[in-house]
Symmetry: C2
């Protein structure tokens, strides 16, 4: 109290004090409009995509713009025979994977097998022109197929009403593409960031198990199988139909499953032998088809695909349905499959771009994938994206550019035109084995262990996603995990950390007294650091917490006989403030003063300082004896005042 | 590059370097369980309510516990005649306000007027025993009444089905109380913090306008009035029924409205004359009743309340409906009215507690208000809480303890027992005028201006709440405003600020180069400060943003010919990290190293350091030459290495 009296009596003295130390200055003035512009730019254009256009002549700008929209124009002119050789090898490799997987995944989505091949023909061509990743292998993927199939089956039966089901699948694909392209166009790509790595690992593992369970139908040769997806109904369906199990199917399935898993294992151990796992599915299809054909196994309990029509993708824009009672379902399914396939595509693109040290523009990729699906929806394709497993094979096989997608596409085209009759005798059990061996790779146990080690809460989120997918449903499991992740962020905001700082002896550094045991409290000073923006969600809490700090100080203080003189707030970590935050400081100032102490702020950042200044009619916060640039300077200056 | 070679060649040297400066040490080890305990304690018990029990003898603990649950035991024993005198004066004053307001607000909720008086009798008694605020005047409030009435009217007509409507109102009150008590019991009181001050100001102003518009029915004497709440339907209803306007009603209404508003204005200007505005409603009721009685005005177009039954609250627990088709509506309405009335009650309690320098425990208050409503729901009361206006009158009238609530309650009891017939001739138009004059105070234009001055975004939130309430609906307006507030917090997390630091000449202080114009960049160093926890929602953005910083540095650098050697991250403001955040640092380290530079971390906080350490098998991040306690020390030490 003497201190504040003396400083009131002699205003000169506090100016002198302020001169000795480094002044805290308000940030340079900026108009509201300019601040808004900066904020919008940072929010929507953090990568500053127009940077390269700056200071270029107009003609060059046009070229750059064309290259920006069609990345093929960037690398196309420099394309060489050497690159082509690599791309042909990798293109053929992924085609040998894409054909059996295409057929299998279409069955997973309850669609005719040929739609899977259609989807491996058109979308890769579109992506080759628009996409900026050099390693992405485009085509249908297991999880998006599963979700599309399961969500649409809720309202329409693919068996009783196959045409309507197909129409809804194409409409869903259109909405998925439209949603993806819009996210990219509106620069809202950050929405997919809300699917954290932990969520995805749990989700993928859960989905892999759900997908594998569905394959028990094909692997055991069961004809009456549940339409539900959950763990419980599927297992009960399996064990209530033991009379339908077919030993021939089980034998064949087990043999090929073991073969595929061994091939996978070999390629994981020796990446040079990538072609072992890449070729295994096609080899399995050919071998099993020959076996069935030779032994007429279709008459001995082994179900086969049956006759497939020849020919390229028929147009399907007339099948899109933008009205009717199922529109809501199509949109919902489109958004869920769109976001899931986008997450996979972008993550794959980024992973390989980082490996080869080039950049993939997230928002541009979203537009490319979105347009690819929109085009796909009018050419009899369903949702496609860049698949993890196939892109890895593509990368290992030495793909250099998107030409490998074109090679794959042409191979699929040849298959569609001439080879379709050959698949007539392919047994469904082998397709099931191919799916299981593909999705096994989605269960990433080492990553789960790593998450457990680093962050227990992330592990809980992962488990929620996993069990949610297995026991509730694919989309609900995902929603629960995302909800919990966001709840955690909000909780962190609601309960920001406040720590007490102490002086590290022999320096003017102040650090957390709990973390740095050697740091010492300064008698008469309570130095607190707040580590979050202060806003409506936490100002009440902070008020209570700070009062508790003060009361605890006073309780200790009772023994030490040195009364509290200054409460110093280290504000370096307070990155923002709102009107509730400014009220918090006003109230706190009053409370601290009733305790006979003074509130001192250290290093408020630009925006925080500006708002405190505006909320503060009396200029109380901005008094130079209440505002310092470092804790060290504040303590040094204010200790001197106590002695006076 | 030479630097990292030399340190590899001579590991001794980097140890020496580390010895010169202050070591960054990992925080003291804590088990997961202990950390969980601390986190839970900070989240749910920030005020540490059990602190006072520590170290007390068992008997004392029991006394303290009883006092904790029933605050009346705290102040009751010291109660004196002097305090009683103050409390009687203030109790009678608020009773004179509570009786007309009770009748009016019950009509606002489409309930029989007598329910408003019932609600001013039992709940204040319950609160007096359980509540910890000394100034709260308990009773029905305008906004909760409006919401309850409008939400229930959506499904049940109060005119055609009054008994069911009453049953639903009591059931809603029960759920509101149950929800409030649960929030308190589960220590989830922070949920009401999500209604920020800006949201509340916009919401209150919008609700005041909606409430006033509803009074046009009574003020203009219209008989066929819309059942909707929005601005547009009400105004259209008013101007389509001009033939029903009654000049006698309008004349009487205007006179009393002017009288009430003038009385309000007098009390605002001179708080000593609080009794002018406090007594005005009762005076209006008495005067207008006498006028109607004298002139038989009910036969001249002025509608009156009509016969009211005498007697105390009948029990109503048999009217609570926990099944049936309207259960969902009751629960929903209960949650909305519960949260709104809780917000008002807690805010009022805190405001007056701060004025008189005592503490109100938020969670305990919630339980008190919740229990009060649960008891109320079985004694014919509807939702009640502490009202802003009445508590202010209570405070100004000199209330010292909750006894003023008991005095008010007894006065209301006397009224219920003996005075009800006197209200038979009270005209509805005066009740309308009383409501309008009460809710006018909810429109706080100076606060809105202040918000505009300090924070433009908060202002937008406020406008959303305001226009949402006026044009859409009370509950949707509120939901939109809360949604936008949370979206803003999430956006802040998704796009954390990164700033470049420079050295303030003549010191070892490093600050934002944009804010402190005199600060200088150090050649060869890029010093960045991240001002948010790093998690899944922002790690992708941060990666892009940091790359842009590096590229911008290199572009500048091209001119300066001093290549980038160290990227220093000031981590003091990074309050938390998750698995995505640790991956971000791992990737960033690689990227920085491919650019020929070194990643250096400064002052990572306890939790962040621990997780980085766990995620880092090779010990790369924890090397003493990559980890410093202050930026100044890092730059000093590393500059020396460059010269070597």
């Amino acid at each position: 109290m003497e201190y504040s009296n003396s400083s009131n009596a002699d205003p000169q003295s506090c100016l002198e004090i302020a001169m000795e130390v480094h002044r805290v200055v308000p940030p340079p003035h900026e108009s509201t409009l300019r601040k808004l512009k900066t904020t919008l730019k940072e929010t929507f254009f953090p990568d500053d995509p127009l940077r390269q256009f700056k200071g270029q002549p107009t003609r060059k700008k046009w070229v750059l713009a064309a290259q920006y929209i069609f990345p093929i124009l960037q690398w196309g002119p420099d394309y060489s025979l050497k690159l082509l050789k690599s791309d042909v090898v990798s293109g053929l490799t992924i085609a040998s994977l894409a054909i059996p997987q295409g057929i299998s995944y279409a069955k997973l989505a309850n669609l005719p097998p040929i739609v899977g091949l259609y989807s491996s023909f058109v979308p890769p061509l579109v992506y080759a022109v628009l996409g900026s990743s050099r390693d992405l292998a485009v085509g249908p993927v297991s999880i998006a197929s599963l979700i599309l199939g399961s969500m649409l089956t809720q309202e329409v039966s693919p068996v009783n009403d196959p045409v309507l089901f197909l129409q809804l699948a194409f409409t869903t694909t259109f909405f998925a593409g439209f949603f993806q392209a819009s996210l990219g166009f509106l620069r809202l790509g950050f929405i997919i960031d809300f699917l954290s790595k932990a969520t995805l690992i749990g989700f993928m593992a859960g989905a892999a198990i759900i997908v594998s369970l569905q394959q028990l139908k094909a692997l055991l040769g069961i004809t009456h199988f549940t339409k539900k997806m959950g763990l419980v109904p599927v297992l009960s369906s399996v064990f209530h139909n033991t009379n339908e199990w077919s030993w021939q199917t089980i034998l064949m399935g087990s043999c090929f499953l073991v073969f595929l898993l061994v091939a996978r294992h070999v390629s994981i151990k020796k990446p040079r032998l990538f072609w072992v796992s890449a070729g295994a599915p096609l080899v399995s299809v050919i071998l099993s088809t020959l076996l069935v054909f030779a032994f007429k196994a279709q008459h001995h309990g082994i179900s086969i695909i049956g006759k497939l029509q020849e020919g390229l993708n028929p147009p399907s824009w007339n099948m899109l349905q933008f009205h009717g009672s199922h529109l809501g379902l199509s949109i919902k399914t489109g958004i869920v499959t769109g976001i899931i396939s986008l997450t996979e595509g972008i993550a794959v693109g980024r992973t390989f771009a980082a490996l080869k040290n080039y950049k993939v523009d997230g928002n541009k990729e979203m537009m490319a994938i979105g347009l690819m699906n929109m085009v796909g929806s009018s050419t009899s394709c369903y949702v496609t994206t860049g698949a993890f497993s196939r892109s890895a094979v593509n990368h290992n096989a030495g793909a250099k550019t998107a030409v490998s997608n074109i090679v794959m596409s042409v191979t699929v085209m040849v298959t569609l035109l001439f080879l379709m009759p050959l698949f007539q005798y392919t047994p469904n059990v082998v397709l099931g084995a191919i799916i299981v061996s593909a999705v096994v790779g989605l269960i990433d146990i080492p990553a789960a262990c790593q998450i457990w080690k680093i962050d227990k809460f992330d592990f809980i989120v992962m488990l929620c996603a996993f069990f949610g997918v297995i026991f509730i449903s694919v989309q609900d499991g995902l929603a629960i995990a995302v909800g919990i992740s966001i709840f955690k962020i909000l909780l962190q905001i609601t309960r920001p950390k406040t720590v007490m700082l102490g002086n590290i002896p022999g320096t003017d550094i102040f650090r957390d007294v709990h973390h740095y045991k050697e740091s010492m409290k300064i008698p008469g000073f309570l130095i607190l650091s707040i580590e979050a923006p202060i806003n409506f969600a936490n100002s009440t809490y902070l008020n209570e917490r700070v009062l508790r700090w003060i009361e605890e100080y006073e309780a200790e203080d009772h023994k030490k006989q040195s009364s509290l003189r200054f409460v110093i707030f280290e504000m370096s970590a307070v990155s923002g403030i709102d009107t509730s935050g400014t009220s918090f400081f006003k109230e706190l100032k009053k409370t601290v003063e009733t305790k006979g102490a003074e509130l001192v702020l250290v290093n408020p950042l630009g925006e925080v300082m500006e708002k405190l200044q505006k909320s503060d009619e009396t200029g109380e916060f901005m008094r130079p004896d209440c505002l310092f640039l470092t804790v060290g300077e504040a303590v040094a200056t204010l200790s001197a005042t106590i002695k006076v």
